[in-house]
């Protein structure tokens, strides 16, 4: 019986179909551990081996990884939310209400999206704090620190554009207050210092952001596109660069 089973197992794992999918076995050797990482698209940004201190939670605080996990959670829940949401002033608020009260697990979906976004802002700030405290921005990682700063801004902007979408009082006024600063941009804002005569409130930098002179329906659409398509794409590209550079600059920092 046992031998029969063994024979069957070998027959399956030696078959052309099986071997076309799985490139390596499951034996307990260093070669297999290496292949496991190298031949897996989800893991291949990792090097096959890292220094032991990089495993230490107390050293890394795991914050970079948590930030990425939060991004994935918001991406998945965000796609699901998009099925129920129309970015127009007539529908937006009621779609969120509908989602909360009538869609099975709709409230949970929305909660997870919002709290993961908040969590991402916290973890990305703590990640930056940790990277600074361990001096990990120093040579040769200077450029990757710069990419990280841009990613921090992208995270804020992702969260900020998403803040408007429920189209309730909280969203509307938070975004109104947040974008009012842009009026005062030197030269480019109509209330800023050194603004030329022909910069008015309907062609300054705030107008470009809001697609209007106040937060309105076109702002909602603009923020929706930025939130769901443009900025996530930018974030994904920058994250790929960021992770790639971590590896190419010698893995996560250690006492060299």
């Amino acid at each position: 019986m046992n031998e029969e089973r063994k024979g069957l197992k070998e027959k399956i794992t030696n078959s052309d179909i099986w071997r076309s999918i799985f490139r390596h076995g499951y034996e307990d050797t260093g070669r297999r551990y290496t292949l496991q990482v190298l031949q897996n698209v989800w893991l291949h940004l990792h090097p096959p081996r890292i220094s032991r201190h990089a495993l230490n939670f107390r050293f890394t605080w795991c914050m970079g990884g948590i930030t990425f996990l939060m991004f994935l959670v918001t991406a998945v829940t965000g796609v699901l939310l998009m099925f129920y949401y129309r970015p127009t002033a007539e529908y937006a608020f009621h779609d969120v209400q509908y989602l909360e009260f009538d869609i099975p697990f709709g409230m949970l979906l929305r909660n997870m999206h919002r709290w993961a976004a908040h969590g991402m802002v916290i973890s990305v700030m703590l990640h930056m704090f940790r990277v600074f405290l361990t001096g990990s921005y120093k040579k040769p990682r200077e450029f990757n620190w710069a990419v990280g700063v841009i990613l921090l801004l992208v995270t804020f902007f992702l969260s900020f554009t998403g803040y408007l979408l429920p189209w309730d009082q909280l969203a509307f006024w938070a975004v109104t207050v947040g974008t009012n600063m842009a009026r005062a941009t030197p030269v480019l804002g109509h209330e800023g210092p050194f603004a030329p005569q022909d910069i008015t409130q309907s062609n300054d930098v705030r107008f470009a952001l809001l697609a209007g002179t106040i937060v309105g329906p076109s702002t909602l659409l603009r923020f929706y596109i930025l939130h769901c398509v443009a900025v996530p794409l930018l974030a994904s590209v920058l994250m790929a660069l960021h992770f790639w550079r971590v590896r190419k600059d010698g893995g996560i920092s250690g006492p060299l």
Partner: protein, 288 residues
């Protein structure tokens, strides 16, 4: 007090409350490791060359971490509902109107500076300054481990900026700013009709200057004099200081400008609180 408890337990303020615990915890954690390094010395090359396989060791850690975080997020999402207020109404301005919590340090700066500085110039300089850090910090030590002894100045400046000027201002903006963006202690009720006398005066006024042109000139001298501290210090010290020579003039100018700009915020705060100073420099084009 009741309203303060209501404020702290507001769903959208959960991250702020979390930060109140997380930041001290991580400061403690890093401080302990830094003390350890400073006492026993930097980990040796042998420790660094101790390599382990990513699979299973790192992947296992990542997996455990992901499970714990998803559990926390799951419980958080089941227990606390995301806020949804009344439908948006451009004619009904809430008081106070607050930006999202992570921008409240910037909104708090608006108390002390005009919007073009607090909302545009300072955030721009924060970003530029952050990106510049690796290029102006030429200290090769303290790379890849926690330490205090080997880079006290860098740590002090960054921690002050991050903890005091970013996190604390964010917490103040969230919990202690009420209607009219007035300051309310936790035990004070938010009074929307609170009348706060506007007794702020410009710095030139305190020095007895009443004429606008003289005030403009005075303000220019004070601000220029403040930023001149950097070059003057360089001229005074650069012959005797090895550090300044290694840093070089260009890097020094950037460091001193960013450093003085950062310190300008607490200085203006103190001037406002102690002397009711509104502006340092009033010119026909802008006020600082």
């Amino acid at each position: 007090m009741e309203h303060f408890i209501a404020l702290v337990t507001k769903p959208d303020n959960v991250p702020i409350v979390a930060i109140l615990f997380l930041i001290p915890y991580f400061i403690y954690l890093s401080y302990r490791q830094a003390r350890q390094t400073d006492k026993t010395g930097v980990p040796s090359d042998a420790a660094l060359n101790d390599k382990v396989y990513v699979w299973p060791y790192l992947c296992r850690n990542e997996f455990i971490c992901a499970i714990i975080v998803m559990l926390v997020l799951g419980v958080w999402s089941i227990m606390i509902d995301a806020p949804l207020e009344e439908p948006s109404d451009p004619t009904k301005t809430p008081n106070p109107s607050k930006a999202p919590w992570y921008f409240l340090a910037l909104q708090e700066m608006l108390v002390y500076f005009d919007p073009w500085i607090a909302g545009v110039v300072l955030p721009g300089l924060i970003i530029a300054g952050l990106i510049a850090i690796p290029y102006i910090d030429i200290n090769p030590k303290g790379k890849g481990y926690y330490t205090i002894k080997e880079r006290p100045f860098a740590l002090a400046v960054f921690s002050f900026g991050f903890i005091i000027l970013w996190i604390v201002l964010m917490v103040v903006g969230t919990f202690l700013r009420g209607p009219g963006w007035n300051f309310f202690a936790p035990w004070e009720a938010w009074d929307p009709h609170l009348v706060v006398p506007l007794t702020n005066v410009n710095l030139s006024y305190l020095f007895g200057i009443r004429d606008a042109d003289t005030a403009n000139f005075f303000g220019f001298v004070v601000v220029a004099g403040y930023f001149a501290i950097g070059p003057v210090f360089y001229l005074w010290k650069h012959k005797s200081s090895r550090f300044l020579q290694e840093l070089g003039l260009v890097r020094y100018i950037i460091v001193s400008f960013l450093f003085l700009t950062m310190l300008a915020l607490p200085i203006k705060m103190i001037l406002r609180v102690v002397l009711n100073v509104k502006y340092i420099w009033v010119s026909p084009w802008f006020n600082i």
